[in-house]
């Protein structure tokens, strides 16, 4: 293995590979930071460019887009309260409050360093433990996925604010939103009220844009001119040191492991990983009251987890030929176009190329750190723009991003409606985070309930499977901790 790794390293350190990684990262950082654009669009755009490249630089370019975009989603989440990608949805919760407190540089550096470390741990795991992790991931059937989503939903108890019933109501509201459209089991239309528009359901990206960006526009517009928020100043020098990150070592390690486990399970995604990790960090923190108000630890947890997913999603794809999401499906397509097929052959017959890609993944994380600093400086100019220019600009950009999702003005309408819901809900003390968790996990939860009952006859099977029992036990503990913290907060 060491020989293969060294051969891979020499393959990565060629001009071709380095240029490919830098181009991929540049595209990824731009697409991730701009709301509505994501790694899938970036990879799709660069895919034709890779046809002329040899397999290793081609894959490294696309992986650069994937990693860059996953990290860069946090930049807009922190600076303008708009997650560039769904993976950065949990980043808003503590990132934007930090910006409001004038700590934008710190938040941006925390996101960058936590992302790099999360990606590095994931990359090392991909390099050394890919076959073993793939075996564990294979043990995940629909009952395990179902209990994993229950675990995710249990986080609602911790992010409900002062009133757990308000949080739960919003969580159920999110689930209801995901019921609109086509039933995952039999293709029956649900809650469409005869509208053709509602048959396709509600996409996550327009909903995200609405919940965060559009609601923020309404909030800013209601303020009288003299009291508009001053844009934050961003200087990244000494904002957040590696030493400080080391003080969160347990949070980093736990979040990275959670990200790797979630990422290795096909069909889950980094948004789930970041919420799970955020909720776990809050429930085990010595200062849970700081979460949602600009907690560095919360930001470290969500950013480490969502980037740890990137390497782990490649494990089932490379070892078993199972693409976990849209991005890995395109990456698998790119491999096939290069004349390679995923599976054991990649680690035997094509080992030099495969190890070049695996080592390259680790190198991408290091390059991402330096390019990330550059991108922070570049995007920080956004904050110097006066609010009366910035807010309308962000609004139109987000709306065009929502439009680009389905090339339809309906997605823009969905974004505005969700913005309105979030704006009104916040006026009455309802948190939108539980609704977001409901939207993210709703359909996955239902699909796996359907599969479990279809395969095993009833849901009682989850009580006979060890992994399910572990998830259920953790969920119960988290609900109890969440309710206790909420009660204490309410009593104060």
């Amino acid at each position: 293995m060491l020989e293969n790794i060294l051969a891979g390293l020499s393959g990565v350190l060629t001009i071709d590979s380095l240029i490919a990684m830098v181009i991929g990262l540049a595209v990824g950082l731009s697409f991730g930071a701009l709301p509505g654009l994501n790694s899938t669009i970036g990879i799709t755009l660069l895919l034709p460019v890779t046809f002329t490249l040899s397999p290793a630089p081609a894959m490294l370019m696309l992986l650069g887009v994937y990693c860059g975009a996953t990290y860069a989603g946090s930049i807009s989440a922190i600076l303008i309260k708009t997650p560039g990608t769904p993976a950065a949805a949990a980043t808003v919760l503590d990132g934007y409050p930090m910006t409001q407190q004038g700590k934008a540089p710190r938040a941006l550096m925390i996101a960058l360093k936590a992302s790099v470390v999360g990606g590095l741990i994931s990359g090392v795991c991909l390099l050394f433990l890919a076959p073993q992790v793939a075996k564990v991931a294979l043990k995940f059937g629909s009952p395990e996925y179902f209990t994993l989503t229950i675990f995710g939903l249990s986080i609602i108890a911790s992010v409900s604010g002062n009133n757990i019933f308000k949080g739960l109501a919003m969580g159920f509201f999110g689930l209801l939103v995901k019921c609109i459209g086509v039933d995952p089991q039999q293709g029956i239309y649900r809650l469409t009220f005869g509208s053709q528009v509602l048959t396709r359901g509600v996409d996550l990206v327009p909903a995200l844009i609405g919940l965060f960006a559009v609601s923020e526009l309404f909030t800013q517009c209601e303020k009288k001119i003299a009291h508009l928020q001053a844009p934050p100043n961003v200087t990244i020098k000494h904002a957040f040191s590696w030493k400080e990150l080391f003080s969160f070592k347990f949070t980093v390690l736990r979040s990275a492991i959670m990200g790797i486990i979630v990422g290795a399970c096909p069909g889950t995604g980094s948004a789930i990983a970041s919420f799970l990790s955020y909720g776990t960090a809050k429930n085990t923190s010595k200062h849970p009251e700081e979460y949602g108000k600009g907690s560095s630890e919360g930001l470290v947890a969500s950013e480490t987890a969502n980037n740890a997913v990137t390497g782990a999603t490649l494990i089932p794809m490379l070892t078993l030929g199972i693409p976990g999401d849209g991005v890995t499906a395109i990456l698998m397509g790119a491999l096939t176009i290069q004349g390679l097929s995923p599976g054991s052959q990649l680690f035997t017959k094509y080992a030099p190329m495969t190890y070049c890609v695996l080592v390259g993944f680790v190198v991408i994380q290091i390059l991402m750190y330096f390019m990330g600093i550059g991108s922070i400086k570049l995007f920080s100019y956004l904050t110097k723009i006066p609010y009366y220019i910035l807010m309308p600009m962000v609004f139109v950009f987000c709306m065009v991003g929502a439009y680009a999702c389905g090339t339809s003005t309906i997605d823009m309408l969905i974004a505005v409606i969700f913005g309105l819901i979030a704006y009104i809900a916040s006026k009455f003390g309802y948190s939108i985070t539980p609704m977001l968790i409901g939207i993210v996990l709703g359909s996955i939860c239902e699909q796996n309930v359907v599969k479990t009952i279809g395969v095993y006859g009833s849901l009682s099977v989850i009580l006979t499977r060890p992994i399910c029992l572990v998830f259920l036990a953790i969920s119960v503990v988290f609900i109890v901790i969440g309710v206790r913290n909420t009660y204490r907060k309410g009593a104060k």
Partner: protein, 162 residues
């Protein structure tokens, strides 16, 4: 007290109405399962979600009411929500109306003209009084977005209909 209670719980009451509306309409909106009894009904999740909203909202209303009654019994004053002088809900309502108008005219007069108009109005509403900036910013930004999405990313933005 009743007025204050209702004012504080408008959104919760709206959730109650919404969930009842959904529960009543599920039988007509979701056909029953066509497959065998071993599969779950497509109505299950909509019922769980809307039932959950209903139960949580009612519990919230009850707990809020009990809290308010206890405060009155103890002779405590129920604090009136302070009105924020720096915030005007009418401005927010105006913005919402403006956004809906933009969505309505977008497909009729095309992306470029409609977006220049909304950017001009929004920027003015948020305090931009620089005449040059008021004109230059909407025009330049709209054309930039149109070029990036339309030409570089091949996203066909709504064109003018006439």
């Amino acid at each position: 007290m009743a007025k204050n209670y209702l004012k504080e719980n408008i959104f919760t009451l709206a959730l109650v109405v919404l969930s009842i509306f959904v529960i009543v309409n599920i039988p007509s909106q979701v056909k029953e399962s066509l497959l065998s009894a071993s599969t779950i009904s497509p109505r299950l999740f909509p019922y769980i979600a809307s039932g959950g909203i209903l139960i949580c909202s009612i519990l919230n209303l009850i707990l809020d009411f009990i809290g308010m009654v206890l405060k009155v019994k103890r002779g405590e004053e129920i604090p009136e929500k302070k009105r924020n002088e720096n915030v005007s809900v009418y401005r927010a309502i105006g913005t919402v109306a403006l956004v809906f108008v933009w969505l309505f005219i977008l497909e009729k007069i095309g992306f470029i003209i409609s977006t220049i108009i909304i950017l001009f109005v929004l920027s003015f509403m948020m305090g931009n009084r620089n005449k040059i900036l008021l004109v230059l910013f909407p025009v330049c930004f709209t054309l930039l977005i149109y070029f990036v999405f339309g030409e570089l990313l091949h996203v066909s933005l709504p064109e003018i209909l006439f």
